[in-house]
Subunit: 525 residues, 2 copies
């Protein structure tokens, strides 16, 4: 068996069942092995940013890593922005990068580049397989590293000759030992739980800040019990990788993106308790404003790190402070009325709130267009919200694609800004090819609206036409209906709230991908 097939069989035995790819010549033996290892499903994308973005969401929704297959340094480079988002969102992902044959690298052929230097910044684990005999262990180690804890991007470089030469070591047919224990979080020390309990009992103003593993149902419920009983504030990170929400679940306040609002949320706190979360910082620096958003006089405590069992710690804390089992504050069911009249960010959010199907997955990359979405969907049927973890735009459409591959029985809704949609618009083609049940709503305001806001916030005194023209993308207007149909995804244009409501209802009712271009007022957010 060739090295490539041994690699694929090891991945399959380790629980990997999907490989998003955009291969080239040096990956041809990997591609040729796909027919022999039929339990790994290959999915082709037209651009590597789609490959890595889809693999992120696969990992987050399936709770196990998908793999990528990328072509040398430049192919990896094209996928790096979404690997950045994967890293920031602590998504498990095995990132396979084909390389020239080991002996060929010395010749500095045109596609040669320093893959390690490119991969390291976005990878929590990195290795290049030296021989076909190594590839079995390397693959199991990569999967193990991807699981963590914490979950991470594990980059495995696969030289062409390692792929094509015979592998003479046994290939696993069941889960390798090293993988079996992967991903288990360490329990939090009782003393830490007791210390947090003590400070919550002090009566001083406190908040719990929930991150990655703590924003799913079990963590949310336990955290809400604690917060309600102790009179503490319940906060969540600004950009959770996957947050469960909707009717019957607690709804922590997410830290606002704009630092001014975040500081207002945190004002007056004496204790901020991190639960698998990072201490809040401003996304950007602004002249004369602080980078660290924790107010003066507020102590930061850690209940659970990103490698520890946050849910267990929250449940232990709830017990220790005597929070009743039914004390969590759960959001009652409730939807907005289907909107009518002008199409605005508010009415677009109301349309989603009115119609969101059961068990939906929302990929949110609508930026300024999404500010009304949390409120409008809070009482909707339970759903998962996937957000822009690393703030690198171009994640939204790929991650909707990956989520739909991971969860074929759940409807996926991509709420997508126009500007950021254009980074990885090629994702629509993979949605059409794979027949994925994704509804994409493009919130089209014809501008990089967030940057118009930021231009003022950074103190840049810019009203000049040259500067302003770099922030508007309505010259020429993008026709997303044409772009979508050009890649095989049926599409429609909505210019009123009524048209959006009708189009959303139809898209949710029919299987397969759909796109709706929701035309918002120009010059707005």
């Amino acid at each position: 068996m060739r090295g490539a097939e041994a690699l694929l069989r090891t991945l399959s035995a380790s629980g990997v069942d999907t490989c998003f790819m955009n291969p080239g010549t040096s990956e041809m033996h990997f591609v040729a092995s796909l027919d022999a290892v039929a339990d790994v499903r290959p999915a082709l994308a037209l651009f590597e940013g789609v490959v890595t973005g889809a693999a992120i969401r696969y990992g987050r929704m399936a709770d196990r890593p998908a793999t990528t297959l990328l072509h040398l340094g430049p192919g990896l480079a094209n996928g790096l922005a979404n690997l950045h988002n994967a890293r920031r969102g602590r998504s498990p992902l095995v990132n396979i990068v084909g390389d020239h044959a080991t002996y060929h690298k010395a010749y500095d052929a045109p596609l040669e580049s320093d893959i390690e230097s490119l991969a390291r910044p976005m990878s929590g684990w990195y290795r290049s397989s030296a021989s076909p005999a190594d590839v079995v262990g390397d693959a199991a180690d990569a999967v193990t590293a991807a699981y963590g804890p914490p979950s991470r991007v594990a980059t495995l470089v696969l030289p062409a000759d390692v792929s094509w030469l015979e592998c003479d070591v046994p290939v696993p047919t069941t889960v390798p030992d090293v993988v079996r224990q992967a991903g288990r979080r360490a329990p939090v020390d009782d003393g830490v739980v007791a210390e947090i309990a003590r400070l919550l009992r002090s009566g001083e103003p406190a908040a719990l800040l929930l991150g990655t593993s703590a924003v799913r149902a079990a963590g949310l419920v336990a955290a809400s019990r604690v917060a309600e009983h102790a009179g503490a504030k319940l906060l969540a990170e600004s950009f959770p990788g996957r947050m469960q929400r909707g009717a019957g679940l607690p709804a922590p306040e997410r830290i606002a993106y704009l630092a001014e609002f975040a500081m207002a949320q945190l004002a007056g706190l004496r204790h901020l308790v991190l639960v698998d979360a990072r201490s809040p910082v401003s996304p950007f620096a602004y002249p004369g404003k602080p980078s660290d958003l924790v107010p003066d006089g507020c102590e930061v405590h850690v209940l659970a790190s990103e490698s520890e069992d946050a849910v267990g710690a929250l449940e232990a804390l709830a017990e220790l402070i005597g929070a009743p089992a039914d004390s969590a504050r759960l959001v009652p069911a409730g939807r907005p009325e289907p909107p009518s009249g002008a199409l605005t960010p508010a009415s677009a959010a109301a349309a989603v709130g009115a119609l969101l199907p059961e068990h939906a997955i929302i990929s949110d990359e609508a930026i300024t267009g999404a500010i009304y979405l949390p409120g409008a969907t809070e009482g909707a049927p339970p759903h998962d919200l996937l957000s822009l973890t690393g703030n690198s735009i171009g994640q939204g459409l790929p991650l909707a694609t990956g989520a739909a591959v991971a969860c074929p029985d759940r409807p996926v809704l991509a709420m997508q800004a126009d500007g950021s949609a254009m980074y990885t618009i090629q994702a629509l083609w993979t949605q059409a090819r794979e027949g994925l049940d994704v509804t994409t709503v493009i919130l089209d305001n014809g501008s990089y609206a967030i940057l118009n806001i930021e231009l003022g916030r950074v103190g840049a005194d810019a009203g000049g036409p040259a500067a302003r023209s770099m922030l508007e993308i309505g010259r020429p207007d993008l026709d997303f209906v044409a772009l979508s149909e050009g890649m095989g995804v049926p599409a429609t244009r909505a210019e009123t709230a009524d048209e959006l409501t009708k189009a959303l209802g139809e898209a949710f009712a029919e299987d397969g991908p759909h796109l709706i271009q929701a035309v918002l007022p120009r010059g707005g957010i």
Copy 2:
């Protein structure tokens, strides 16, 4: 004056007049300065791969660097593949990457990443500006480094506070001294020229292999004089950054992409003389085949390195061996007949050969679809050919965009494969926005045809449906007419040679961008 404006003014004084960009929050002060420094033209792109690809061709066509403006590590990452092509093609390019404020980096905000690690592999020069007082010198040094020799990608990182703080050093209004001498190539030593003359006179089979600076008119004519007089073969690198060709110019044989053919071209040589060129290697390794394409028994000599005056050396060599001034073999004018009947790669090439306007610039990323193009255009009016220098696909449409910005009076033709077009299809929008005179022909065969060839060549015994499906992109078919019109570029579909000829004629006759989807037989090349 703020640091950002001091930077822009220094770039302008250094001869930089164009900045392709896709900015974000940390670049807002740079953007705000654009109105104050009106002689630097900003051009917006929807994706960073378009920014860097356009900047490559600007540099190559204008013989001076354009700048980019990219947003932090992820924005840089999205532009890296075309920076790879720039590096391989030795294009002068100043790559400006915005960064968080210097003091903000410690907070590890969501968009923080290791920019230096990402940039180094593609950059011949790298620096991060430490203060507004440094930015003036740093900008001049970056331009100087970009000019070389050899020309290179110079990456200058611009922290947000370096942008927004006041710069208290003088800002140049004329070309800085350090820039004035940049780009001058060193003369080749007389002894080297004499040694090459000696071996050419030996009568042993020899070839000249021409690269970057040697494939423009003056170098081609001098090289052809030498080759004709000495009975040597005249070769050119496979992927010249910018090659001048057409009626009245010599036409060296380009080294073939497929190693088997390249080896046939080089067979029997005893001497291979490199003229600003690299010794030929196989683009990829193949089991049982050599990586180094130079045949056994052939010595490799260097007439001029990438930092030396190749044209001067060729002219000196021609004189030394007594080659008459008129001994160059020039291609006579001649065009194929406008084709009729089936649309194939051959008839598509004939249509281009029949109609190519005077002084056209051809961006060639048609891969397998382009194999008939050199023959069909050899006797066409003189034109420039820009090829895929680093073999990283996704360069073609951006470089056509950049070439059209650099040369507004020349028609630009992008010969583009369907698969590679989809990497940076967003370039069409910038063409529409800037009203650029670019005609794009998509050679649409519905597959990664080169990979179907490579699958066999690497010895991968793959006929399986899973493997094959990763190489075809005709499910669903891409409708490039819809994609193009969705970004504001008028488009048409050609299914016969007659339709292509008609559409090409119309596109060449009318200013502004056009796209033609040339539908080739499925399953062919």
